[in-house]
């Protein structure tokens, strides 16, 4: 029986054990970065050069060089994933509740930024400080209101009164 250990046999073994090649999402990731590289190259070419700027080593040079790197690494990523050689670090799994909560938190943050421009910091922050714990599963209204009032007060005291930042 041939017990020779080759690179291919190593990769195959690891693939079978499940730590590599569980999905092909890295191919999509590779394609994304390769396309991103192409866009960067064209984006770099579109930079308007003013008179006197060296065309070869001017403002276009660096972004275009980076674009080429993105393209090359993206392609290598695709090839490596085809060969089952990409090994991502172990991560905690996303939970369904967690995903919903993150989306909710993100929406609240965006809304707070928008509201900040219209109604000012204090009302928008106070509202966010009520909505965020609610979104994250806290169901104790008195605690939440107290928390919102105290934190808003603390923020105002620290930033507006001590540091003189116009909130």
């Amino acid at each position: 029986m041939n017990n020779e250990i080759t690179d291919e046999s190593i990769d195959e073994t690891v693939t079978q054990s499940g730590s590599v090649g569980k999905s092909r999402r890295n191919q999509i990731v590779g394609i994304f970065w390769a396309l991103f590289g192409v866009i960067t190259i064209f984006g770099g070419a579109a930079i308007q050069i003013t008179q006197g700027a060296n065309s070869e080593l001017g403002p276009k040079f660096w972004p275009q060089m980076l674009g080429i790197f993105f393209l090359v690494i993206g392609i290598i990523l695709i090839i490596q994933d085809f060969r089952g050689k990409i090994r991502d670090p172990e991560q905690e799994e996303i939970t369904k509740t967690g995903l919903i909560e993150v989306l909710g938190v993100f929406v609240i943050l965006v809304l707070q930024v928008i509201a900040w421009g219209f109604v000012g910091f204090l009302p928008s922050a106070a509202a966010a400080l009520i909505l965020l714990p609610l979104m994250l599963g806290t169901r104790k209204p008195i605690k939440i209101i107290l928390f919102s009032a105290l934190t808003t007060g603390l923020l105002y005291g620290l930033f507006a009164m001590i540091l003189r930042i116009p909130l």
Binding site: I47, F61, P63, F159, L163
Partner: protein, 497 residues
């Protein structure tokens, strides 16, 4: 005037006590709460220290950095959860010690060896920083470019996961640094007509998004509500006896030496140092079988090592301008705003600064040690604070902190965008560290490469022994993890067969 006198004289400002106390309190709390990292805290503090004098601001940031290294051991020992990544190795023996009824000794000895490691870091800073920066002053554009490549590849190499993804992350940072004015000609690039982007991507907003918001979102998206941490409440004896002190000496020496070497390597931080030192101490121990089961030697090696990286990290950051770890990457951003550009010329222009920084670190270590040795049993209750409130506070502070830099809501928006990007990067296995480093060092890399090429083409790089040396180490940093991974797989296969 003598730089030593001048540097230490700057610390005579009475208000500094307030800033040092504030930094200590924040740092200990930061370390205490799992999920709030030192990087996140320093980034947050940056926003409200920008209006201070450089020394006052540095006092706050450095004290947070130092004292978080004391606070993060507490949850590692009591609930088996590292307060920050630097205390991962503390859990190996700290929690088993606590389970065996020796939590008091674990906490006290951890604080003592952490202080020893940190103090040795100050000695390293004092002895190595100025000679290293004098050497680096001879660097031309080719060497400076390769130094940036070296820092970036080191961070990619040590950040774990797939090397290609680390490289992409670094490239994204370099590309983000392109946004705004070209450093040589002043031409606008990738601003898409948005005036606010003329000065480039706001650095602190990006950092707070990547390390603050993204971290919180990642914890929310993966949280498991079924069980909370079980806190050890039986502390037992607090002070080690003579035999136990003796037992701590050898592993502390091993830990301090290991941590110093790891700390000097750009981008390698306390997490790596702690694990490496723990393993080294086990090899040299007369009782390796006790490691992982509550060994005082194990906790001494791990904690002294991760603490002693701080001096080395600070040395490479200040002398070379290449961040020693992610906290230092954030600190560079603040220093630049204060007009202190870390790098070879820093100590030539401000020779007193190294002594001020060493003085601040020394006071911070003593303050943190004193507070750590107080038996704050009541503070342990903070570990039961529901994460929903902690996450909310961090998110809102990130927003206000970002706004405070330039009173700009636009920058708050940028921060939220980076929070989303950071979360996607984490979930797809892209480390955030190289991106931040790329963003910080992008302009330096670009301007020096273009200057080097304008001077003598590619020969200016190829004919420089220093530049080629950096290139060789950079290639090794990328290739070595791949070779090692292959070797581990081969070993596993042999064992399987």
């Amino acid at each position: 005037m003598n730089p030593i006198v001048e540097g230490l004289g700057a610390l005579m400002d009475p208000s500094l006590i307030l800033y040092l106390g504030l930094g200590t309190a924040i740092g200990l709390l930061v370390g205490f709460f799992p999920g709030v990292t030192a990087t996140m805290a320093v980034a947050l503090a940056t926003s409200f220290t920008l209006t201070l004098d450089p020394i006052q601001g540095l006092a706050v940031l450095l004290t947070i950095y130092i004292s978080s290294g004391f606070g993060d051991r507490i949850p590692a020992i009591l609930i088996n959860t590292p307060g920050t990544p630097a205390s991962i190795a503390t859990t190996f023996d700290g929690y088993p010690m606590a389970k065996n009824g020796r939590a008091g000794i674990a906490l006290t000895s951890s604080a003592i060896v952490t202080a020893v490691g940190s103090l040795f870091g100050v000695v390293v800073l004092l002895t190595v920083a100025i000679p290293l920066s004098s050497l680096a002053l001879r660097f031309g554009p080719a060497e400076m470019f390769m130094l940036v490549v070296f820092g970036l590849t080191m961070m990619v190499g040590v950040s774990g996961g797939n090397i290609l993804k680390g490289l992409i992350s670094g490239l994204v940072g370099l590309l983000l640094a392109v946004i705004g004015q070209d450093p040589i000609t002043g031409v606008m690039r990738f601003t898409f007509g948005i005036n606010e982007l003329a000065d480039g991507i706001p650095f602190i907003a990006a950092i707070l998004g990547l390390f603050g918001v993204a971290e919180v979102l990642d914890q929310i998206i993966t949280r498991n509500k079924t069980h909370g941490p079980k806190i050890i409440t039986q502390f037992g004896r607090w002070w080690p006896n003579k035999a136990e002190y003796k037992e701590m000496i050898k592993p502390t020496l091993i830990g301090t030496a290991t941590g110093t070497v790891v700390g000097i390597v750009p981008a390698a931080g306390g997490d790596i140092a702690g694990i490496v030192a723990w393993d080294q101490a086990r090899r040299f121990s007369k009782h390796p079988e006790k490691f992982g089961k509550g060994s005082l030697e194990g906790i001494s090696a791990a904690d002294s090592s991760s603490a002693s990286t701080q001096g080395g990290s600070l040395t490479t950051t200040l002398a070379l301008g290449v961040p020693g770890d992610t906290v230092m990457a954030v600190m560079i951003g603040s220093m630049v705003i204060w007009g202190l550009q870390p790098g070879p010329s820093l100590f030539a222009k401000h020779p007193d600064l190294v002594y001020s920084i060493a003085g601040i670190m020394f006071i911070a270590i003593i303050l943190s040690l004193i507070v750590s040795l107080l038996r704050l049993r009541g503070a342990i209750k903070l570990l039961t604070l529901p994460p929903e409130y902690l996450w909310t506070i961090v998110l809102i502070f990130c927003m206000v902190g970002t706004y405070a830099i330039q009173n700009s809501i636009f920058q708050v928006g940028i921060m939220i965008v980076f929070g989303g990007i950071g979360l996607l990067f984490r979930r797809f296995g892209f480390p955030a560290g190289p991106m931040v480093l790329g963003l910080i060092l992008g302009n330096l890399a670009e301007s020096n490469l273009r200057r080097a090429l304008l001077i003598d083409g590619v020969y200016s790089i190829l004919t420089s022994p220093i530049a080629m040396g950096f290139l060789a180490v950079s290639i090794a940093a990328i290739v070595w993890p791949i070779v090692q991974d292959k070797r581990n797989k081969r070993k596993a296969l042999i064992n399987q067969k």
